[in-house]
Symmetry: C2
Subunit: 345 residues, 2 copies
């Protein structure tokens, strides 16, 4: 029987941080990555929870991330905040740039944070919430690995290119969405493969560029964007704004650079911040009240807001701690005791 | 047999402008709206071509747009350019704000134009191209009329909320996409109704909120967003940024305000401009060259770039004029001779 122990969010964060320090990360890197992973586990968001610790350490062991990098920030008189991750993880770069991004968004109404030269590891919803916590709206996007064919094409070129948006809701968790612009995550295709189940139509192409419902063939071929040509266009926009425009790697270049999708990818990220209060200074009503009317109208007809499931898990974790399986705790203890020696490449 | 006459783009623009002046529009309003409609006809983009003249005049005759309004602009030390359309059409407001938007995008790296109190008539691709013509990337969005249910909901709340993006391509037409965030345009449902054809699955709900493939039932019910919950989230983001944040009407409020979808809607618009050269000042390669590599990779695998069909029509129109049917020319002549008297409400 699986038994579980409850761990407080603070204790879990400290434990993950200690694991990363044991694995050779500096305090700056370890703390920032640990905060993202603990938040993922807190929100029952498995894709960014503790199972990702091993992948981060594998990227360290493979020598593909600088585990003690100190990100550096450059600002000027524009609304652009530039943070060079200096080949470290993206998380400390985001934390470093955030105050300057917020200050500029308040001053100019909108501002951008460009992150370059990072090993990207983060849930974009986490970053959107860093902005909403400060009363700002935010839009975050980045390329990933070329595993998605443009609509009408035959070969992987685009990444799963996530897009996240956050809007602050005073007194309650923010409106936040965060999704891959591919029709499914690569992990979902892998799950179908393991279960021996065919994929839904329109998920993937085989290596010859023909539609397939066969998971093996899809993994050797390409995924498709969500929503047909519209999702394909949005994914392309992300390559343009968050790779070409910011002078960092496209999804194609990121895959060519590492040659595998099993390590965290190296590329950049673009985060836009909007200050609703500066926009509203024109004088036409409280933007937050107006937004609540939209949310009420959505909920009143029985539809959900995105992230509601995460917030329910979060409420439980705040009240009762995070329930970890014994096997998970054993995994954490092994990593803490053995650091990179516990990692096989 | 249908015969056609070729009309130059300049002659068609002048004729449309004259029709609008006859219909009571000021030169400012007539010229700006005529330029959008002539561009639509030039690009064989029927949704914004000459057939829309009558709808604009109907909105004038119904007293729902100020045909002689002069838009006014407010700038300050932020990156936000605010244009009040003063209840006129959106087109002259966009033209008025554009130089200040471009100037701020160059200075700050990114900037926003907020348009308030307009009767919205424009193809957003047209506006995206105004930015790409100046070497800027742009993202334009606005609400519309509440005809779309959020995913998981049952009732119209969101608009068809278009989203357009443009990226400049030196020496050739820009990368531009422009689409409704609904799965289909309302006009497409109407076309199915006339043809007596059932709708595809997942296009619409009936008035009770149940899925329907029956066009009549769909028109009495709600359309659905493109791409499931992802498209629904993007459409909601547009309500938040381009209505709540800018202090203008949501799609629900726009429909309540006019009580019909047969007139051009009254609401606001948000246009974001990015200067790739300012972003690239950090020093990591030419963003335009890097973007071309992405476009080549898309085209090389047999996929299309959005807007290619428009650009082909445009090339033909530039070389040989715009082919108008005799019936179209007769329609234009009637409107020119009779102004608002030719319009039935």
């Amino acid at each position: 029987m699986t038994t579980r122990q409850s761990v407080s969010i603070a204790d879990l964060t400290r434990k993950i941080e200690a694991i990363f320090i044991k694995g050779g990360l500096s305090e700056t890197q370890a703390g920032a990555v640990a905060r993202v992973i603990a938040a993922g586990e807190r929100d029952a968001c498995a894709s960014h929870g503790i199972y990702r610790i091993e992948g981060c350490l594998r990227t360290v062991k493979a020598g593909k991330v600088a585990p003690r990098a100190e990100p550096t920030i450059k600002t000027d008189d524009t609304a652009i905040v530039r943070v060079d991750a200096n080949d470290g993880f993206s998380c400390p770069a985001v934390e470093l740039g955030l105050p300057a991004l917020a200050e500029r968004a308040r001053k100019f109404g909108l501002a951008a944070m460009v992150i370059n030269n990072c090993t990207h590891f983060s849930a974009l919803w986490y970053e959107a919430e860093l902005l909403t916590d400060m009363g700002l709206a935010g839009l975050a996007m980045c390329p990933s690995y070329a595993t998605v064919a443009p609509t009408g094409g035959t070969k992987p070129l685009l990444g799963t290119n996530p897009l996240a948006f956050g809007w602050p809701r005073p007194g309650q968790p923010p409106y936040v969405f965060d999704f891959a612009t591919s029709v499914a995550a690569r992990g979902e295709i892998e799950l179908h493969r393991r279960a021996g189940k065919p994929l839904p139509q329109d998920w993937a192409l085989d290596a010859e560029g023909n539609p397939t419902t066969e998971p093996e063939a899809a993994l050797a071929g390409a995924m498709l964007p969500f929503g047909g040509h519209k999702g394909s266009a949005i994914s392309t926009m992300i390559e343009l704004l968050a790779a070409a425009m910011i002078g960092d790697m496209t999804s194609r270049e990121a895959l060519d650079h590492l040659g595998t999708t099993t390590l965290a990818p190296h590329h950049g990220e673009l985060i836009l911040a909007f200050d609703p209060e500066t926009f509203a200074r024109g004088g036409s009503g409280n933007p937050f009240d107006r937004a609540e009317a939209i949310f009420s109208a959505i909920l009143d007809q029985g539809a959900r807001l995105p992230s509601q499931r995460r917030y329910q898990a979060r409420d439980k974790a705040l009240a009762h701690g995070i329930p970890l399986k014994d096997a998970d705790i054993a995994m954490l203890d092994t990593l803490l005791a053995n650091g990179l020696d516990a990692i096989s490449l």
